[in-house]
């Protein structure tokens, strides 16, 4: 098990296990954030895991028939079906008496998770089937050329939220999906970022210890959609956390913990590095900052209020 902290000490190789399960030769864009995340997820899942992959970039770039980049048992179904497939595998292993031997891990994009697969995910979480659902969240439908999804932030350019005379990027706020999932009161819910591999690693490991569903939402930059120099994928994943654009927290059996305190950097530092936000005016940026501060404050306050109420019971 990797250490809990993310500070690297010079002189020793620390971090994730050396064994690889997401291999070279895949066709993801140079610098692809989700591809980095696939390496991390599979290292945490380990060799006895079964991966269920929804349609999307990570499925398409890794499985040019008859080859595969995956070194684990891997299933692909229809775009919206990853959670029900995981339920089926869970039931089949339980019937065979081998459920305890395997981790079942769903890997799906935000289009698959926030939008098209949402009803099926909700049903699987209602049933309480044991598996870990991981959304690699690049905030758009990247594989079909960057259309907006429920995870796309307000104001962002996508091909379906263009910059023109009438509209200037996405017109509405993103869906608060992690909170919607939290309302299902499943045992474990977390958010993470590709820039903090050990935090992600430990959360995935932890998710396997619960007797029910877990959900992990990982923010991970997409070179094609976010429009930035390919060397910046990890930097942007880090800036999202440091500016508060992406809160890293977990809700374990109802108890909320903010795992990484945002550094309070201005959101402009994050937005200015991305072409999808290059049309923003100073007034737009001020609006985003104000909304963000309010939203983060509210989320933390609400969750801490629940923590207190639970302590009293």
């Amino acid at each position: 098990m990797a250490s809990k902290s993310d500070d690297w000490k010079p002189g020793n190789i620390r971090g994730l296990p050396l064994e690889e399960f997401f291999h070279s030769g895949h066709g993801a864009c140079a610098g692809c954030g989700p591809a980095i995340t696939m390496r991390m997820i599979t290292k945490a899942a380990g060799k006895d895991s079964i991966i269920v992959n929804a349609t999307g970039c990570m499925e398409v770039v890794s499985t040019k028939y008859p080859t595969t980049s995956w070194g684990l048992p891997w299933v692909h179904g229809a775009f919206e079906n990853a959670a029900p497939i995981a339920s089926g595998i869970h039931a089949a292993l339980a019937a065979q008496g081998t459920r305890a031997k395997h981790n079942i891990v769903v890997i799906a994009g935000d289009g698959a998770t926030y939008d098209i697969g949402f009803g099926a995910i909700s049903a699987a979480f209602e049933r309480g089937d044991k598996f870990t659902y991981i959304c690699y969240n690049n905030e758009a439908y990247a594989n079909t050329g960057s259309q907006q999804s429920g995870a796309t932030p307000k104001h962002a350019w996508t091909t379906t939220t263009p910059i023109g005379k009438i509209i200037h990027g996405k017109e509405v706020e993103k869906k608060p999906l992690t909170e919607i999932i939290a309302a299902h009161k499943i045992p474990y819910i977390a958010t993470a970022s590709t820039a903090y591999p050990l935090d992600l690693f430990n959360k995935i490991k932890k998710s396997f210890t619960f007797d029910g569903p877990s959900f992990i939402n990982v923010l991970t930059p997409c070179v094609l959609t976010w429009k930035y120099d390919s060397s910046l994928s990890v930097e942007l994943a880090r800036l999202a956390v440091d500016t508060g654009m992406w809160l890293v927290y977990e809700i374990e059996n109802g108890k909320f913990t903010l795992n990484i305190q945002p550094k309070g950097l201005p959101v402009k530092n994050y937005l200015a590095k991305q072409g999808r936000f290059k049309h923003l005016t100073d007034a737009d940026i001020a609006e985003i900052q104000m909304h963000l501060d309010k939203q983060n404050k509210e989320l933390v306050a609400e969750r801490e209020c629940v923590n207190k109420a639970e302590e009293k019971i």
């Binding site: 010079p10 291999h23 066709g27 995956w70 990890v234």
Partner: protein, 99 residues
Amino acid sequence: MKAEKTKLTEGAVVVTPASTGANKTGSWRTYKPCLDQKKCIRCGICWNFCPDNCFMLKKETENKKYKHRFEINYDYCKGCGICAKECPVKAIMMQREEK
């Protein structure tokens, strides 16, 4: 040229795990990361963040201070520059590829 027919497995099941190795994505590169072993402190950050798993851990034979060294697998490196950007001691430099 007549296209060769691929024989389909039942259910299009792929029976060869970890088999994309023949796809040498190194040919995509326009910038090449060059690792200075003298500067490298073996922290493994580059290895962690490479999307294409290009850092190979090898036994160190020259520098007594370390047991291992990293070498870059240019067969698959797409030249994204993440390793150079993330290296805390600037041991990796991106140089224009000459092919």
